[in-house]
Symmetry: C2
Subunit: 193 residues, 2 copies
DNA sequence: CGGTCTCTTGACGGAGTTCAAAGCTAGTGG
DNA sequence: CCACTAGCTTTGAACTCCGTCAAGAGACCG
């Protein structure tokens, strides 16, 4: 149950066997059915979720009722509304499962205790926040400068695993275009080869 | 010289007079002429800059040679490439002055020492990072969902002070549109009222 | 003054949207 | 095992927003 998490942490900070065992005590396991929510708009995001299997997404719904996907997370990734989690403010985002999934949850208080007991993990969470920041900023740069086709090409290059698992219409939402446009872009690309 | 910084910090954490005085010792003052660089692509961003007066901007240049402005900073704001600063990686961004400006610089090592001497400032810098993260994410959401007109309206609402100080072509770059489009949008808006 | 920088305006073109309809696929129940 | 439905993708035609290219109008500065 914690094998994936262990490898994930070890890539970033080195823990002893004993430290890692104490670490796992702070996590709780949860199964999430397709379409089930982990976070709903208006609530405060109180946990970080590490994905063991399946796929989740984070999205906003705008005034026109349109969905904009901000992030996907498959196994070995984290998902949460960091803005809400860190500042304990109500979230404007939703997180739900694209497929049946299993996650390990780390509550805010559990995280605080974890950081006190194993200060090495400070580094881990700093890296996590930085990684998120970098990803959002890269996406912003892309969405300002690149065409829909280029954004799609970048997407399948960076996240090949997602292309298989996520319905096309949701990838379109992530890219900021309509499902119809993405369908046409894919047609174009397949004809070029 | 430090009056603005003092008020700025006090809004977020409470320092004694003596703590604040020790704090200021870590900053260095610098005047920056219009178009002068504070950071150039390929360098590592080694400092956080607090703007005392003037205006600076952070931007990338894409493959086509086009400029995309990521952030402006006028007095009472910070500017730096946080991605590069935090991870000590080479930056893909440039920072230069839109007008003659005065900034207070806080080097990485100075910041580390400051945090050791005055741990209260940990909170301050965490809030700074969070604020940046929130701003980038809000911008991403906007650029995915809103029209150029709506993005411009949001811009002048959030940053009225910038509209006066920054050339229109640079605001267009920030919004991800051409100067011509922004000119037309402004014309439309003035006719509506 | 003349030169440079910035903003405006017009005509045209292209990328992506919208609306509508039809195909496809997988799951469900008779 | 087939028929039916629901969800997802594809396709077409008209339209819209924004970009591109080109030219002109102000404004500022030496």
């Amino acid at each position: 149950m914690f094998a994936l998490l262990k490898k994930h942490i070890e890539k970033r900070v080195h823990l002893t066997e004993e430290e890692f065992d104490r670490c796992t005590g702070f996590f709780s396991h949860k199964a999430i059915k397709k379409r089930q929510f982990l976070l709903q708009e208006g609530d405060v995001c109180r946990q970080l979720a590490f994905v063991n299997s399946g796929c989740l997404r984070e999205y906003t719904v705008d005034q026109k009722g349109e969905v904009h996907i901000l992030q996907f997370a498959i196994e070995d990734w984290w998902i949460s509304d960091l803005t809400s989690f860190l500042s304990e403010s109500t979230s404007m985002h939703n997180i739900d499962a694209v497929h049946d999934s299993e996650v390990l949850l780390l509550e805010r208080t559990a995280r605080d205790n974890l950081l006190e007991i194993i200060p090495k993990m400070e580094r881990f969470f700093r890296l996590l926040l930085e990684g998120n920041y970098i990803a959002v900023q890269r996406r912003l740069t892309y969405s300002l400068s690149a065409s829909a086709e280029d954004r799609y090409l970048a997407f399948i290059k960076i996240y090949p695993a997602l292309v298989e698992q996520v319905p096309q219409a949701q990838i379109a939402s992530y890219l900021g275009i309509t499902p119809q446009s993405l369908s046409r872009i894919r047609k174009e690309l397949s004809q070029k080869r």
